[in-house]
């Protein structure tokens, strides 16, 4: 079936869920990575709206987060997920935000870290594993690795994210790099 282009359907589905209150509001401008061009100001658009046809990861101002939960709350808002957590290079969950289950993400984080290290060794010629998206019967688990210290990757993971673009991933990684020394 090709009822509609999948990206349009994904956008419509995400917007409908947000507008009907099933998912939290994201910050204004969260759709900046959309494929549309915008006029700087049109007759039908009274509010100033900068044209951002191709925003780069380093265009976004950096925040001075001091706590993991602050950073993760910002991250989950960017990818529109229900929860986010961070896993250190040893496989321990060091922070979480959003709809966190009572027993936390300790087990999930350790297993995700293990799965990523296994996948990393799948084929050395492919290079290092950057991200995974695992779809289970009930939930979706996505994560990416960000190397903020020499050779040591921290995993930032999301529950029920619609998926994240390379731009969003790079923005979060850049923010983590900026805040990392304070977060620790």
């Amino acid at each position: 079936m090709n009822t509609a282009a999948s990206s349009d359907v994904d956008i419509a589905r995400a917007l409908s869920r947000r507008l009907s209150g099933l998912e939290p509001d994201s910050e204004p401008g969260a759709a900046a990575s959309s494929p549309y061009l915008r006029f700087a100001q049109t007759a039908t658009d009274q509010a100033p709206q900068p044209t951002k046809p191709a925003e780069a990861a380093d265009d976004e101002p950096l925040n001075d987060f001091t706590r993991w939960d602050e950073f993760l709350a910002w991250s989950l808002n960017k990818v529109r997920s229900s929860a986010a957590f961070a896993v250190d290079p040893q496989g321990f969950v060091i922070g979480s935000s959003g709809n966190v289950p009572e027993d936390g993400f300790e087990g999930t984080g350790a297993e995700l870290s293990y799965v990523m290290s296994q996948a990393d060794a799948m084929d050395p010629e492919m290079g290092s594993l950057r991200s995974v998206s695992l779809e289970f019967t009930n939930r979706r688990l996505s994560g990416f690795r960000s190397e903020v210290t020499d050779g040591e990757g921290f995993v930032i993971a999301f529950i029920d994210a619609e998926g994240f673009s390379d731009l969003t991933r790079d923005q979060i990684a850049r923010q983590l790099e900026h805040s990392f020394s304070v977060l620790l």
Binding site: T3, A4, V9, R13, R17, L19, S20, S34, T44
Partner: protein, 270 residues
């Protein structure tokens, strides 16, 4: 409290006017003071009711001649239903009409004047197809948006467009605007492409109404005569009951969204 509901979609022929008219009748028939506003430059409500293009005065007279909005309202055979028609505007001036609607405050002022202090329970604003100035003007003054979605692939492909505009208006122009719901229309579950669309809509979309409007010849019959479905002779049509269900669902959903509690009390069967 008056609830303003804009019916809008970016694609034409999705059932906006049919829904606006039949939903307004259903609300009025259950005693709600209801106003239909025809914002479509084509004057779709008047055309649907088989009126000549220049028959009815309305919003254009308010905008161009400074008429009192309450003086140009049209009464109907239902005491609780009135119509603010498009008015006698020259089709040549469609662009000016739409731009003035959007750039000025005439629409909000007109509605305020008609609504008075709780004189109207529901205002249903029928808009032209597309995402132009008249639609944006309606979105800017409304509390709720109802999106008729024709259950066929092309209409489905445009759904992201209207949702994006709705999201933008809510963030930048009218924070009180809420998605009331997506209303599947012209549904044919025995047709593969229609079924495919409905399967997609029912899996993961937010705000989809339980009520669906099926495709049926009875709509053509009503439109040929120029009357709402429930006014057709020969007994109540099942399709007309759909709009009764829709009015019930919409009222319940608005109560839920605005925090109005259902005042029904427990009952005893025996």
């Amino acid at each position: 409290m008056t609830h303003r509901i804009v019916l809008t979609s970016s694609k034409g022929g999705t059932g906006k006017t049919t829904t606006a008219l039949n939903l307004a009748v259903a609300l009025a028939e259950r005693g709600r003071n209801t106003l239909i506003v025809d914002l479509d430059p084509q004057g779709a409500i008047g055309l649907f009711l088989a009126k000549e293009d220049g028959d009815w005065g309305g919003l254009a007279e308010v905008m161009i001649s400074g008429a009192d909005p309450n003086e140009v309202l049209l009464s109907t055979s239902l005491p609780t239903l009135r119509i603010l028609a498009r008015g006698r505007i020259d089709p040549v001036d469609t662009c000016e009409y739409e731009l003035q609607l959007h750039q000025g405050t005439i629409l909000a002022e007109t509605l305020d004047a008609i609504e008075g202090d709780g004189a109207v329970d529901f205002v249903l604003i029928d808009t032209p197809s597309g995402l132009g100035p008249a639609t944006r003007a309606a979105l800017a003054v409304s509390h709720f948006a109802l999106l008729p979605l024709q259950a066929e692939p092309v209409a489905f492909r445009t759904l992201s467009q209207i949702l994006r505009v709705l999201d933008h208006v809510r963030q930048h122009e009218n924070p009180s605007l809420q998605l009331l719901g997506i209303l599947p229309t012209m549904v044919q579950l025995d047709n593969d492409s229609s079924l495919n669309v409905m399967s997609s809509v029912w899996s993961g979309f937010g705000g989809v109404l339980d009520t669906v409007i099926p495709r049926s010849d009875v709509f053509s019959q009503a439109s040929e005569i120029g009357i709402p479905l429930s006014f057709l002779g020969g007994g109540t049509r099942p399709e007309a009951r759909r709009f009764t269900l829709l009015s019930d669902e919409i009222e319940a959903r608005i109560n839920n969204m605005t925090g109005i509690e259902d005042d029904h009390e427990h009952r005893r069967l025996v």
